[in-house]
Amino acid sequence: MATGAFPSPRKMTLIAGAIVAINGFFPAVWILFTSLKTESELMRLPITIWPHAPTLANYSRVFTDQPIFTFMWNSVVVATLSTLLCVTVSALAAYALVRLRLPKPNLILSALLAVAMFPLISLMVPLFTVMRDLNLLNTWWALVFPYAVLSMPVCTLVLMSFFQDIPRDLENAAMIDGCTRTGALWHVVLPLTAPGVFTAGILAFVNAWDEFLLALTLSPRVLSRTLPVGITLYQGEFSFPWPIISAALIVAIVPICIIIAVFQERVVGGLTSGGMKG
């Protein structure tokens, strides 16, 4: 078929892929360019695209102006702890709902999801009071528990769909061979659901890593800030030092890029299998 006006299918495929990739990467790349420019180059009009005299000065300001490593460490700890809590709790609940003959499992599931889906912003006010009364403001725990609840619905649904895919006979066989129910769960089911647990974990981690409003509210002290809130501290009261903010953003984006680059197949595959059957 010779339709001169249209490029060949192979080229079309390439163009399609390029659009998706550029759409995703362009903003980060533009920020990277900005971060390498000097203040004076940034003032020049018309604007430049490539940095003419690339400099790392902005990056050294990132580390001296704010304790960015502390922000990052807070983010890592909070996201990790809340992920562990969320996945453990969700996995137990998901397994009970799928396998253990509870009465009206659909109703229990709906109730769990309804409570967990209550808008986080509405919870902000009472959580602030609770955490203040418990003296937990500015601690990791003030964020760990709410973040675990935040990701519980999606984790439970993903894990339920993984448990449903494991043939019952496998567990029954293990139990006939003398395993207890918990033994079968530990030795047979858990290894098989590792990919599901992993996927749920990444979803929970990214949710916690990105959260802004509660982090802003429950950790008012600078040294307790997580990365998304910490980044906003680089702006002055009246000034917006774009090269430094850009450099800070790049520093903060690098860990995200590493995580999604390493786990890309898991995430896409997990959303495919878990998200759809829920």
Binding site: T13, G17, V20, A21, N23, P27, A28, W30, I31, T34, L45, I47, L85, T88, V89, S90, L92, A93, Y95, A96, R99, R101, L102, N106, I108, V115, M117, F118, P119, L120, I121, S122, L123, M124, V125, P126, T129, F145, P146, M152, D210, E211, F212, T217, L227, P228, V229, T232, S246, L249, A252, I256, I260, V267, V268, L271, S273, G275, M276, G278
Partner: protein, 300 residues
Amino acid sequence: MARLSPLEASERRLGYLMLAPAVILLLVTALYPIAALIRESFSHNVLTEPWMAKPWVGLDNFAKAMGDPRFWEASANTLLYVIVTVPGAVAMGLGLALLANQPFRIKWPVRLGLLLPWALPLVFAGLIFRWFFEFQQGLVNNALLFVGLSPVNWLTRETPAFIAICIAIIWKTSSFAALVLLAGLQTIPKSLYEAAEVDGASKWRQFLEITLPMLMPAIFVALIFRTITAIQTFDIPKAMTDGGPGKSNETLAMYIHSTTIDALDFGYGSTLAVLMFVLSAVLTSFYLRHTRRDPSGGRH
């Protein structure tokens, strides 16, 4: 009701035991705060007036909200963000999913192109787009100048600021929709397209008659997730204009935040939070009514 066999009864006990951590976590971190929120919404509690003993004021706070123009404007803005960004993000997500659903030889650039905006914190996206829409050095205005158009005061005028914020939200949230829709696309059997090809149906007909109907469940999932988050819009307008210019683009979430954390009026802030929950419950129940038709979703 049939009596349970000993095995079944012990399984059920184990089931309750495994459910317990989830229930406890929800009780402490969600259910108790919800109850506290509702109680608070009926009381006068301003932290800067500690001599007041948090008196119960009945529906006073709710009456105040009904007569509060800032509440109505924030609600209207929130609904506008829902109306524009929910269909916008799902439509753009559909476009991205269709583009990404190709037999690429090298998969990672496309996969990461979809994953990066998804994994990026909303605030980061807000800051990046604020930079794009900056008046003098922003990329958008410089592009406009380059093609001979005049630059726009994006972030300091009401409607342009709303448009800029919506573009940022749609860019950021379309990637999750794209991932969900891509998953849906991959469940459509190839044989359907082959049969349509044999019948001589055009690509457009195939899209309308096969892709779209088969994709409806996935579109539905994307819509409901996006709606739930759109009602809570906070991060991106906060980072881009702080609700500005003035309060013209403030959302309900931003108003709640400034009432409680800045003005320290916890009573009225709680009332606003309850009203916001009502709004989101109304919108999501509208969706859930549709899913009820699905036989597997019904009660037994």
